[in-house]
């Protein structure tokens, strides 16, 4: 059903497919930029992925004015402010983020600080509270197929002082361009391929079942779900299949566009809290929590879940399932997928596998209650229910 009112925005240009990376210098030129700052992390430098991008833009006559490789796995407000200062010191005029969620969200934060001409990202926290500001050309090259952050209007950055992950929501957080090139995900290990793929699936499922869902976000979410179910297991088993890698990258982007326009829900609220309190990887947590939260949401999300089943198992197979059993069948399909990925690639299925401590659960539950994603979860979540879900996933 179409909601009484909804909004949709996606202003990100998507460069997708063969040699997409080679188009970056031309994109920068179109924005009048010639001194990009490349943001990445040490692992990607070591793997040669960031170098690949740097070499390409250098060869096309657009050498980086600065390369920042110290973005940590769990980036923070302090890192964002520091990188913005480096950008100014080197007189850069644009940003190229090469990495996964942490690098991309840090780069979004840096872009916000620069465009709003401030020194502290914390002064910008809020929802749709900032104006366009100065335009700083911003290109994102995702190196995982999961986060979808290359196409979203939200940056999630850790507030180290408070031990929470903060969300910065604004259409001006969206990058100008996202570059999807299979070369960037070919070296992704099997387990990371699996967990980031489930992260993308989680984005799509929460986008299509939360209270803010709308027909346009649904269209992107269902396309993402189909691609993930068609390609994720295959790509884990055949990691060098470029075509399947690209399909997964596209799925992650589609899921990103979906949830950027309809929000997420309980999985992300609890996942952000676990990340903030216990410093566990986001994608791993999503993979663990997703089946549990879906099972919990089932009574209120029955119609949404049932409508997603054909996108997972195909129209013919879905129509053979009695209508009243489709929602449960959909939840089962997700559980089977995560279990299959556990066997194939060692995907974690329990929070205890990630080193989460039981004594942290209370703090995680309290933190989750203050996460913005909770407001649109189809079922109300209070402290006791969050704790129950955490124990079930433990």
């Amino acid at each position: 059903m179409t909601p009484a009112y909804f909004e949709y925005q996606n202003a990100v240009k998507i460069l997708c497919g063969q040699n997409a990376l080679d188009r970056i210098p031309d994109e920068l030129r179109q924005w009048g930029a010639s001194r990009p700052m490349v943001l990445t992390d040490a692992v990607l430098m070591k793997l040669g992925l960031a170098e690949l991008v740097v070499d390409l833009i250098r060869a096309e006559g657009c050498p980086p004015a600065s390369i920042f490789t110290d973005i940590p796995v769990d980036s923070s407000l302090g890192v964002v402010n520091r990188v913005a200062a480096v950008f100014r010191e080197h007189n850069c005029d644009s940003i190229i983020a090469v990495g996964g969620g942490s690098v991309i969200d840090s780069a979004k934060g840096v872009r916000l600080v620069l465009s709003q001409e401030t020194d502290d990202i914390l002064s910008l926290s809020g929802v749709e509270n900032i104006s366009a500001g100065r335009h700083v050309p911003f290109i994102v090259v995702p190196t995982t197929a999961g986060t979808g952050s290359e196409c979203t209007g939200v940056a999630v950055i850790r507030n180290e002082a408070q031990g929470v992950k903060m969300e910065f929501l604004s259409p001006f957080v969206e990058p100008d361009a996202a570059v999807l090139d299979a070369r960037m995900t070919l070296k992704l290990p099997a387990r990371a391929t699996a967990s980031t793929g489930i992260d993308a699936l989680c984005h799509a499922i929460e986008a299509a079942s939360c209270l803010q869902k709308n027909p346009l976000s649904d269209a992107h979410a269902t396309a993402a779900i189909s691609l993930i179910f068609q390609n994720l297991l295959h790509v884990v088993q055949h990691p060098s299949d470029s075509a399947a890698r690209l399909q997964m990258a596209l799925a992650a982007t589609l899921a990103g566009i979906a949830f950027s326009n309809s929000m997420v829900g309980g999985v992300h609220a609890i996942g952000h809290a676990l990340g903030g309190v216990c410093h566990v990887p986001h994608a791993d947590v999503m993979a663990i929590l997703l089946p549990h939260v879906m099972h919990f949401n089932l009574p209120r999300a029955r119609d949404s879940y049932a409508s997603l089943l054909p996108h997972m198992i195909g129209m013919d197979a879905a129509s053979s399932v009695p209508e009243e059993e489709r929602a449960q069948a959909m939840v089962n399909a997700v559980s089977h997928l995560t279990e299959h990925l556990h066997r194939l690639a060692g995907l974690h299925l329990r929070l205890s596998d990630l080193g989460v401590k039981e004594e942290d659960m209370e703090r995680v539950a309290e933190t989750a209650l203050n996460d913005g994603a909770l407001i649109v979860n189809p079922v109300a979540l209070d402290r006791e229910r969050v704790l129950d879900l955490l124990h079930r996933a433990y």
Binding site: G126, N129, L211, N370, G372, A380
Partner: protein, 165 residues
Amino acid sequence: MKRILQKLIVAAALRLVHAALVELCKLDPYVHAQFCSLPNGTSYSIYTGHGAPVLHVRWDGQKLLRLKEVRERATCELHLKSLADSFLMFTGQIGLAQGYARHAFSMQGEIADVMRLARLVNRAEAYLFPSFLSRRILPELPSLPVPSLRLYGHLIFGFLTRSYS
């Protein structure tokens, strides 16, 4: 004329929400606990549209004070994007979650502070609105330890004795 009427209703609703929260802080242990978890001096400003009523409140550790004017930015500012949105929200036609889903407000400050306020306002709405209305706008009806009539009694007494100024 319609806009003037909407402004009057929204102004009355803002006063009622504030008064209800003041009373519930005394009557409902959940609301009391929520307020006690706020740092002293936490302040909220709710703007309901251009030239429309504004509510400034501050938690002083004991009571939620309504402020006539503010000299500095509140800890958390909610800006409803139009009077029409405010009218829908403050007359119980849409809840906070629907308001959020409709992008009906922008927010300055930490999202955690909005979530704290949302829990309190949802609770107040569960008391103030008849259950058929609350059921439509709240994700779930909470079990309330105090009957709504008792809250209304306190509110009438409070307004008569000008306790919420």
